[in-house]
């Protein structure tokens, strides 16, 4: 069985799965139960001067029968006293010495950072995470994402903390920024030992249309909150991969954002994360989800001949290229398996209205649209394809006109019914190469 343990900038953890700094890591009792369930580490709910929270404070987007596709909150950092939290951290570390306990911190002045770091390290934490991400409440007070959005300030505060810290310092980044590389590289320059991202995305989750108040509702008003959960995963992965690809970023990354199962985690790791952090999925289903994360990741590594998580870290990075380096000659077309098709014809709607008008129904040839690459008629297959389930409702593809966009395969509800089949392999003809060779002008441009 593969070795799941990791070493994150000197912080050791029996597996890469950490609780993100959020309600699931709010107290010692919770963190200990999480460790019992299998979690490898926990980033404690952000410590600082305790605040007062509002009620209510969470909202969610449901989609097509699934609850909590996206989640948002207007909660702030811990509302519990520092001494209570530190006492519990001490207790947890005593009972679970091999697990990673990281204190998330947020405060204002240099002196406050010094005191906070000292007291946390005295309590025995394995590392520190600077919360430069909270997009509501704290940023108006000059903390959280207001620091994360100012690379200079972020670098300066990171440097202060490095003066005081004996344990590794992770900088948690906000996604509410033009280019994630700016704060990421500033953190590296400030001396950070690791990066965590993403924190939540500024959002309005919904509007109560009867009361005319955004949600979550606090009396008769609300405010923007932070978005997280499955919906933010693609954004988070892009940001993680941007940093992981950059040569200036030589420190490990803790990936966060919409991770719900081992597959999500493996994708983050393949894009360069060393550990992953989870909040929403735990809030939705509880600590128990880590069982499948551990089991699934370990099976995956075994099946793919990898003996440790380390071997997966960043594996998909070389597969990432700039657009200009993608092969322009590679071609795929859609193939419909008549025997799997149920005849919903969603592919027809998608292709006619949302793509390239190359999927048709019925036994007759079809006039191609005027903008087609091959003018004339599309030939229906003879004899017409009949499905075992859908009969003559099985659509057919005008293959020469299919641009291989994937849309039909994406909307088809039946797994494996539409596959995208390679018709020509990579040719090495890329946009960048065309530019080099002066072949970058396609006929029909502005100056003709």
């Amino acid at each position: 069985m593969a070795d799941l343990s990791i070493d994150f900038a000197g912080i050791r953890s029996p597996n890469p799965f950490w609780l993100a700094s959020a309600p699931p890591a709010n107290s010692g009792e919770q963190v200990m139960r999480a460790f019992d369930a299998g979690w490898g580490g926990a980033v404690w709910k952000t410590l600082g001067d305790p605040i007062v929270n509002v009620s209510s404070r969470f909202g969610a987007v449901d989609y097509a029968g699934q609850k909590v596709m996206g989640f948002n909150n207007i909660e702030l950092i811990t509302d519990r006293g520092l001494e209570v939290n530190l006492r519990e951290i001490r207790e947890v570390k005593k009972r679970y010495p091999k697990h990673a306990v990281i204190a998330s911190l947020m405060t204002e002045t240099k002196e406050d950072w010094k005191v906070l770091i000292r007291r946390c390290e005295d309590a025995g934490v394995d590392g520190l995470e600077l919360n430069f991400g909270c997009p509501h409440g704290m940023c108006e007070r000059g903390m959280g994402s207001s620091v994360g959005q100012e690379p200079k300030l972020l670098q300066e505060i990171t440097a202060w903390t490095k003066e005081f810290a004996k344990t590794p310092v992770l900088v948690k980044l906000t996604p509410n920024i033009g280019d994630i590389l700016d704060p990421g590289i500033a953190a590296v320059k400030g001396g950070a030992d690791g990066l965590s991202l993403i924190n939540t995305i500024k959002s309005i989750i919904g509007v109560d249309l009867d009361r005319m108040v955004p949600e979550p509702r606090v009396g008769n008003a609300s405010t923007n909150g932070g978005y997280c959960g499955p919906a933010v995963k693609p954004i988070a992965m892009h940001m993680v991969a941007s940093l992981a690809r950059d040569p200036e970023v030589t420190i490990p990354i803790s990936g966060i954002g919409g991770i719900s199962n081992w597959r999500d985690a493996a994708e983050f790791i393949a894009l360069g994360s060393t550990s992953v952090q989870v909040c929403t999925a735990v809030m939705h289903y509880g600590f128990r989800i880590v069982e499948d994360m551990i089991d699934g990741l370990s099976n995956y590594l075994d099946e793919h001949g990898m003996t440790s998580v380390r071997q997966l870290v960043g594996r998909a990075i070389p597969g990432f290229r700039e657009w200009g380096d993608l092969d322009l000659g590679y071609q795929i077309v859609a193939k419909i398996d008549a025997n799997k098709c149920i005849g919903c014809q969603l592919c027809v709607a998608a292709c006619q209205d949302g793509a390239h008008q190359c999927i048709f129904t019925g036994p007759n040839d079809q006039q191609r649209p005027p903008h087609a690459h091959y003018p004339g008629t599309a030939k229906a297959p003879r004899p017409q394809i009949l499905g075992t389930q859908a009969g003559d409702r099985v659509p057919w593809v005008d293959e020469p006109e299919c641009v291989g966009c994937n849309l039909c395969a994406l909307v088809c509800p039946v797994p494996g019914c539409i596959t995208m089949v390679e018709t020509s392999n990579e040719t090495g003809d890329t946009w960048n190469r065309r530019v080099q060779e002066g072949r970058d002008k396609v006929p029909g441009g502005i100056h003709e």
Binding site: G65, G343, C344
Partner: protein, 428 residues
């Protein structure tokens, strides 16, 4: 209108087989619909309701919009949702069947949307056009006339329905199995149609209280939605006397008259159509000691729906096939004791306390006679163009059971709607 119905009726003992969805159930089901392109369910609906659209509107909590989508094509979408044989119509065509998965419960979703949106106190769904000056008289307050009148009223035309019975709604009120639709729910729908501007005059029979020549003089068009007539008889010995009922007459009494406190003993139902199956199921559910259907051919030739027969069997209904009734038997006091049938060349007596005859309904020749030019075909049905209801008299239109010989509520609605559209078109 509701208060007119007796409080205690046998039909109320039979509860809804497909109760109203809760909001959560409706949404969960609606979310499953794939929103097919050129959806086969639409084509399978005789009124061609835009089913994927109305379902998606439920999924987005737009229940009013959903009901509007339904009513635009099928004004009686509420009763249709409850009485349509969806297994052979919309639901039977759902692509999920091809996938060997549970098809979308279109009827129940349609009921959810239409019932929610027409509850008393809800703002009206439609506003009628200003009066056009055109007037239409409609005979019979069944689904065909109600649909026709409702659509006419929405276009601003005056629509007056004349109904011979004390209750409007046609077979929706008097004939539909109670576990699908109770009489008060049918009347609720009638009230809703009236709220669109339709006038309903009950206790007015054509040929007795009103006459064709007067209607032709006073109205711009006349619509005949009179349905079928009385139950047909067997015309065999012993038929006169107690214990033998026409099926639709028996159902009407069970639905609309006060509970008689009568005990159903051993029941025989003669016939193999849907009315026969309905009456057999109803008797079984009302506690008859034994219910047997007597059919003259083999089971495969029965015109009743397979899914309905399955349901009847589950409720304990027995089936005797290849049996031709020969004579009824009675004791010295004249009380019914049995039915003698011929089975494969031999004769047997099936003992019974009650018999329901579900062997068809007669056609109404008297109606046609009221209007010059209106003709009947060999089956006794009014001859009308099925696309618009036009008859041999330019002012007279017809639809529903009286032109098709007895189909479903949804077919009658489609007919009524088509005539309303045709008239609207020709009056523009």
């Amino acid at each position: 209108m509701k208060s007119v119905l007796p409080q205690q009726r046998d039909e109320l003992e039979l509860k809804d087989k497909k109760p109203l969805y809760s909001a959560a159930e409706a949404k969960a089901e609606a979310d499953r619909c794939l929103y097919c392109q050129d959806a086969p369910c639409i084509k399978a609906c005789p009124t061609e309701i835009d089913i994927p659209t109305f379902i998606k509107k439920i999924a987005t909590d737009n229940v009013r919009g959903s009901a509007k989508t339904i009513f635009e094509q099928n004004l009686l979408g509420y009763s249709c949702a409850r009485v349509c044989p969806v297994e052979v119509l919309c639901v039977g065509a759902c692509v999920y069947n091809a996938w060997h998965r549970e098809p979308i419960q279109i009827g129940r979703l349609q009921r959810y949307a239409t019932e929610k949106a027409t509850q008393p106190g809800k703002p009206p769904l439609f506003t009628s056009a200003p009066p056009s000056g055109k007037k239409v008289a409609l005979i019979g307050a069944g689904p065909a006339s109600l649909a026709c009148a409702g659509y006419l009223a929405l276009q601003g035309h005056a629509a007056v329905i004349f109904e011979k019975r004390p209750y409007a709604g046609g077979l929706n009120t008097t004939g539909i199995a109670p576990y699908k639709l109770h009489a008060e729910d049918s009347l609720h729908e009638v009230e809703w149609v009236q709220s669109l501007g339709v006038e309903v005059k009950t206790g007015m029979e054509l040929g007795k209280d009103i006459f064709g020549k007067d209607l032709l003089r006073d109205y711009d068009a006349v619509y005949l939605g009179v349905g079928l007539g009385e139950d047909t008889k067997l015309r065999i010995p012993g038929e006169e006397g107690d214990g033998i009922y026409g099926a639709t007459a028996w159902i009407e009494a069970m639905k609309l008259t006060p509970t008689a406190g009568r005990k159903l003993g051993r029941v025989l139902v003669v016939g193999g159509g849907n009315t026969a199956i309905d009456v057999a199921r109803e008797c079984a559910l009302l506690g008859a000691t034994e219910v047997t259907m007597v059919y003259r051919r083999d089971a495969a030739s029965m015109s009743g729906y397979h899914h309905e027969m399955e349901g009847a069997r589950k409720e304990g209904v027995r089936l005797v096939t290849r049996a031709t009734p020969v004579a009824f038997e009675r004791d010295a006091q004249g009380k019914l004791t049995g039915l003698k049938v011929a089975v494969d060349g031999t004769e047997q007596v099936l003992p019974c306390d009650m018999v329901a005859l579900a062997i068809g309904q007669s056609k109404m020749h008297a109606i046609a006679a009221e209007f010059p030019g209106v003709e009947l075909d060999a089956r006794g049905c009014i001859v009308a163009d099925p696309t618009n209801g036009a008859t041999g008299n330019a002012k007279v239109f017809s639809g529903g059971d009286c032109i098709n010989g007895g189909k479903e509520v949804v077919n009658a609605v489609a007919d009524g709607r088509n005539t309303a559209r045709y008239l609207e078109q020709s009056w523009k």
